[in-house]
């Protein structure tokens, strides 16, 4: 396949994954705002911006950081190049560029998702409709992924798509952990203390893990357990451990198909080994923030290695 096509499908998947995760994050913020007092809510909205790396660009606009202003900015603002709408458009543009590398069903699902969301985000979303719109974003991303799983050949093309998805997911989960622990745990001394359950539930909700966690941990919410769940529990599809496991198997498809391993394989294997060799106590000893910072850095290195090894650009 063309290097440019690999690049296109890798980024198409990343944009879709990021759009979906952004919707999840917003949904979590929205629920806090519905149920909590004003000051908690505005903390929460701010943490959504920080997680997405949008706190500074938003502040530069000089608008008050209210829920509606923030959601509008994140969902559809013209001056936000990483809005959900822009990401869906990027995903679709990439899909159009790699039209011959994807099946008709994947193309149509992506194109239709973009049409539906463009329509839904043509005007500011009213608060009463916000839940519905966020739901729609998640559903459309699921639809595209389903079309990929159901119709694409199990070859290098799908491997690049999956690599994009899981690198993006690992990155998003890492950022959520980082920000939430900063906001919710002003000091490490708080680890193990009884905290506001609703806020922790929110962390889980933003990665669609609240039910899974409750089921696995008999309903006990503790910061250490949640961090362990989000980082190390490979049964949970949005954990770092799971994302790396999937990334590793996508890379294996590439080395099988091409008969050769690259520097990207090495980088992934090292990351997986590091994760396997640690436990949650070790992570907190090392420093959660430091650990996550390193994970985000590794993630970027892997993405760069894949791009270089597989000739995404000249």
């Amino acid at each position: 396949m063309l290097g440019r096509s690999a690049w296109g499908i890798f980024w198409m998947s990343r944009y879709l994954e990021r759009a979906e995760n952004t919707a999840r994050l917003l949904d979590a913020g929205f629920r806090i705002a519905l149920t909590r007092g004003n000051s908690t809510a505005s903390d929460e909205w701010r943490s959504v911006l920080v997680t997405l790396g949008l706190d500074e660009p938003f502040a530069e606009r000089g608008r008050e950081a209210t829920g509606p202003a923030i959601t509008d900015y994140i969902l559809r603002a013209q001056d936000n190049p990483t809005s959900v709408l822009a990401m869906m458009e990027n995903a679709r543009t990439n899909a159009r560029m790699v039209r011959t590398a994807i099946t008709r069903e994947v193309w149509e699902a992506t194109n239709e998702s973009w049409m539906i969301l463009k329509d839904a985000l043509a005007k500011p979303v009213r608060e009463a409709n916000l839940g519905e719109v966020l739901d729609m974003i998640r559903r459309q991303a699921t639809l595209v992924r389903g079309a990929m799983e159901g119709t694409m050949l199990r070859n290098d093309i799908l491997a690049f798509a999956r690599a994009g998805t899981y690198i993006e997911r690992a990155d998003n989960t890492a950022r959520i952990i980082d920000v939430k622990y900063h906001v919710l745990l002003p000091s490490l001394a708080w680890v193990g203390s009884r905290l506001d359950n609703a806020q922790w539930e929110m962390v889980l909700r933003s990665v669609a893990g609240e039910r899974a966690f409750r089921w696995l941990h008999a309903g006990v919410l503790d910061p250490r357990g949640i961090a362990e769940f989000l980082i190390l529990d490979a049964r949970f599809p949005r954990s770092l451990a799971y994302a790396y496991k999937q990334l590793e198997s996508s890379m294996a498809i590439l080395s099988d198909a091409y008969g050769i391993e690259t520097s990207a394989h090495l980088a992934v294997r090292e990351a997986v080994a590091r994760l396997a060799a640690t436990n949650i106590a070790g992570i907190f000893d090392f420093g959660l923030h430091e650990f996550i910072t390193e994970a985000i850095f590794t993630n970027r290195q892997i993405a760069e290695a894949i791009a270089a090894d597989y000739r995404f650009t000249e």
Binding site: M1, L2, G3, R4, S5, A6, T93, R96, M97, R99, T100, R104, W107, E108, N111, E112, M115, D156, F160, Y258, Y310, R311, E314
Partner: protein, 477 residues
């Protein structure tokens, strides 16, 4: 726009109001259908096209602004006998075009014989000196040709234009049929229509049959070269590559490696044997042609001349579909085939000739005047439907640069009904059959693309100017 001044041949209904035989089966079916249901289907067709992404970009609008070409669900129907006669004429014309191109770039017998003035080549930008003395692989110049036909009477088809560079529209021919079959499956069990779906396979075969001397693969590597996603025909480029199982490449994917044109794949550089390029000659090779082009490949012309790649269509074929050359086509066909042309030309005045120019200037209000190198319906004057001011403005341009124009009488293009809210209404149409040329022979897909002027009385069928398309049927029996 004023209604067309001439009474036209309607392909569905004769002068006495009877349904012509070609449409008998279709009309019988249509009359049984519920009007409201048809209206709904008509709307559904549009959403189908949007969903599929069958769009085109209009130049001069925002980058990325994509539009649909309106689809009309009443098919344009041609009988098997009409088509057989037409196909013989098309084949003759395409054979002549290839022989003509070979001659122009080699011995120029036609000029020596006095049938074509030499100045037609000299001042012509479409003539590429780089092609002189070179024979393309398989001897084929125009792998893909679109012949634009208009109908003026029961058995009167005339050639309006030859498209020998990079004819577009074939994806609409294919998708229109898909759409019709999805919307009205039972219609196709009642009326037997010759299929068009073989086109991509035939195209792939026909391109592979022209592999260059350097090709070492049993199955030649074919790629489609597109200018990119903002090109007006990008959908078609992607569609054809997809259907052929070929890579869709852009200039930035290509470079010359070890004497071959190669594409950058995830495994390294891979040589291409046959390049179906949808990029104009001028942008093909910045070393040979337009130096600022980023759409092509530096050095591809050298590789081509050394037998390292096949370019389809061959560079320099534009000289044969030039509108000034067009007026010589009857002589060209006869010169190379030794036969009388089966398909007629539209009478054409070459404004470069003094007598012709005088006639054209005196009769602007009745004529259609076109730029010699123009396309897409831009830069032309349709006398009968233009205002005095428009004619006066055009006259100035014509006087300033007469060589740049040809003129033709306003033809009374045939009509085929379209589906409107008020029922069926006749609209003018043309037809572009698609022809594939390979060393093994000439393959014509039955039917082609019917373009229809959706505005009442309008004669302009170009999609960039409010034209639509129809599914085109050739009956099987």
């Amino acid at each position: 726009m004023a209604p067309s001044p001439l009474s036209s041949f309607d392909e569905m209904i004769d002068a006495d109001g009877n349904i012509r035989p070609a449409y008998a089966g279709y009309r019988e079916w249509l009359d049984e259908q519920d009007g409201k249901w048809l209206q709904r289907q008509s709307k559904q067709a549009e959403s189908f096209f949007r969903k599929t992404g069958i769009t085109f970009n209009v130049y001069g609008e925002d980058a990325g602004a994509e539009r649909l070409i309106p689809f009309d669900m009443v098919p344009r129907i041609i009988t098997r006998d009409e088509w057989s006669r037409l196909a013989v004429g098309i084949e003759q014309r395409v054979r002549a075009l290839n022989a003509f191109l070979h001659d122009l770039y080699h011995k120029r017998e036609i000029i020596k014989a006095g049938k074509l003035p030499e100045r037609m080549l000299k001042a012509n930008e479409a003539f590429l000196p780089q092609m002189a003395g070179f024979s393309p692989p398989g001897g084929v110049y125009t792998h893909i040709v679109g012949i634009d036909l208009v109908r003026t009477g029961p058995d009167e088809f005339m050639v309006l234009e030859d498209n020998a560079r990079t004819p577009s529209g074939v994806s609409y021919m294919l998708e229109n049929r898909e759409t019709m079959m999805a919307m009205f499956p039972e219609l196709f069990t009642r009326v037997k229509v010759q299929p068009v779906s073989d086109y991509p396979r035939s195209l792939a075969r026909s391109l592979a049959a022209c592999a260059p001397p350097a090709c070492e693969n049993e199955r030649p590597v074919v790629a489609v070269l597109t200018p990119g996603i903002y090109n007006s025909a990008y959908f078609e480029h992607a569609f054809l590559a997809d259907q052929m199982g070929a890579e869709l490449v852009e200039g930035s994917d290509l470079r010359v490696v070890d004497g071959r044109v190669a594409m950058r794949t995830t495994r390294g550089w891979k040589a291409i044997d046959v390049l179906y390029r949808r990029v104009d000659d001028a942008f093909l090779d910045p070393l040979t042609f337009n130096p600022s082009s980023v759409l092509g490949v530096a050095g591809i012309m050298d590789v081509y001349r050394a037998g390292g790649i096949t370019i389809a269509n061959a560079p320099g074929t534009g000289i044969s579909d030039d509108k000034a050359i067009y007026s010589f086509m009857p002589e060209i066909v006869e010169f190379y085939t030794g036969e009388k042309p089966i398909l007629k030309n539209v009478p054409t005045w070459r404004c470069s000739e003094e007598d012709a120019l005088k006639y054209v200037l005196d009769n602007l209000k009745d004529l259609v005047v076109k730029e010699v190198h123009g396309s897409g319906g831009y830069g032309m004057l349709i006398g009968p439907t233009s205002s005095k001011a428009e004619i006066a403005a055009f006259e100035k341009k014509l006087r300033a640069k007469p060589d740049n124009y040809i003129a033709q009488p306003t033809l009374s293009l045939s009509t085929v009904p379209i589906f409107t809210k008020a029922g069926l209404a006749p609209r003018h149409v043309d037809l572009r059959p698609f022809v594939l040329v390979s060393p093994g022979g000439i393959n014509i897909t039955p039917g082609g693309l019917t373009r229809v002027a959706l505005k009442k009385g309008s004669l302009v069928v170009n999609s960039s100017q409010g034209g639509g398309t129809k599914d085109s049927w050739v009956l099987a029996e």
